[in-house]
């Protein structure tokens, strides 16, 4: 299994190709949408490229879950993610770092969870399970 550094290296190379950005723009905390300008088709492209690069299968809605809360008032109230919603997030995205988001869980900030290091962590988990 590749080391953490190797995984990160490959993930950022994948993002350079998928998002047409410079290597220097990519930092572990860069957000895909906000910092790197990803649009919806780019998320799909990233998934395809990661699958090829790492020889894994990424089921739909696993790495980049869409509409996680589906407007359920138990999960979201007044534009904020509830405690139950946070629990749901932890379950669906165990590889995401929620520590910052938990302090001010605005629904609109949820896209900031999708960072370069989140992808690297997801891949690490996938490769570990594959062994």
């Amino acid at each position: 299994m590749p080391s953490q550094a190797e995984i990160y290296q490959k993930v950022s190379a994948t993002l350079v190709d998928a998002l047409n950005v410079e290597q220097e723009e990519i930092k572990p905390t860069s957000t895909l949408q906000g910092d790197l300008g990803a649009e919806s088709i780019d998320f799909l492209d990233i998934v395809f490229r990661l699958e090829r690069e790492f020889g894994i299968k990424i089921p739909r809605n696993e790495l980049f879950p869409e509409s996680i809360f589906q407007g359920d008032p138990e999960f979201v109230q007044n534009g904020k993610v509830t405690a139950k919603g946070l629990e749901e997030l932890r379950q669906k995205m165990p590889f995401a770092d929620l520590s910052g988001f938990e302090k001010n869980p605005e629904l609109s900030a949820i896209s900031d969870l999708f960072t370069v290091e989140m992808i690297a962590k997801y891949i690490e988990g996938k490769l570990q399970n594959k062994k």
């Binding site: 047409n20 088709i41 799909l44 492209d45 395809f48």
Partner: protein, 252 residues
């Protein structure tokens, strides 16, 4: 040569407007896949004609309404010439009749070939074009989408849907530098329009401000333009090529 070394697919390429587009693309230096359903001899004679003129074309049999067949054609073209940059969704059929006479299968057949056929090739190619960050999708619509005749509920619906489809897909692919446009031909002298032309006679010419029927080459020139670097900043548009027919008036 505006399309030098580009690889293009033209569905419904063996006859009519498609044939004109194949010849024009090949003359501009593209390698052109002629997708045909039943007209094998027409497709083969076209490939030979293009070859004699110094161009490159090859024929691929496929019913565009069959998704798996469309995917196979895309793979076969890539295997032959490498990545595809241009697709022209031109394959189309008519089954003109009053709605009260129309059977569900008459409606389905037209929607399946014209609309699903367009979806099938776009779907098979969109991610590839997006990953290349380069590509041109040209869908052949019709003035019938907006200025329709009786007996064409199925055809008009399919072409109206192609216009909407074109705009929606243009937005999805714009970030990747892939443009998606449509051409809406008017009365073009092809086998398909023959029945209508026979019925309409000289009246049709009188309705056309430019006083002549269109030729496949008139549409082909618009297609070459949309496929060329000159059209890099045009996306999500329906370009009408009809001699002014859709203006709905002639000079007095």
């Amino acid at each position: 040569m505006r399309l030098k070394d580009q690889v293009a697919i033209v569905t419904g390429g063996s006859r009519g407007i498609g044939r004109g587009i194949v010849k024009a693309f090949a003359a501009e230096g593209a390698k052109v896949a002629v997708v045909y359903k039943g007209s094998q001899s027409a497709a083969e004679s076209l490939v030979a004609e293009v070859g004699q003129a110094g161009g490159t074309a090859a024929a691929f049999q496929c019913d565009v309404a069959d998704y798996d067949a469309a995917v196979k054609v895309v793979e076969a073209v890539e295997a032959k010439w490498g990545p595809i940059q241009i697709v022209v969704n031109n394959a189309g059929i008519i089954r003109d009749m009053l709605l009260v006479r129309m059977k569900p299968e008459d409606f389905d057949a037209v929607i399946r070939t014209n609309l699903h056929g367009t979806f099938n090739f776009c779907n098979a190619l969109a991610m590839k074009l997006a990953q290349q960050r380069k590509g041109r999708i040209i869908n052949i619509s019709s003035v019938a989408a907006e200025h329709t005749n009786a007996c064409q509920t199925n055809y008009a619906a399919s072409k109206g849907a192609i216009n909407s489809f074109t705009r929606a897909l243009a937005i999805e692919l714009a970030g990747r530098g892939v443009t998606v446009n449509a051409i809406a031909p008017g009365f073009i002298e092809t086998d398909m329009s023959e029945a209508v032309r026979n019925k309409g006679g000289d009246l049709i010419k009188k309705l056309i401000p430019l006083k002549r029927l269109g030729q496949p080459d008139d549409i082909a020139k618009a297609a070459v333009f949309l496929a060329s670097p000159d059209a890099a900043y045009i996306t999500g548009q329906v370009i009408t090529v009809d001699g002014g027919l859709s203006l709905g008036a002639t000079a007095v």
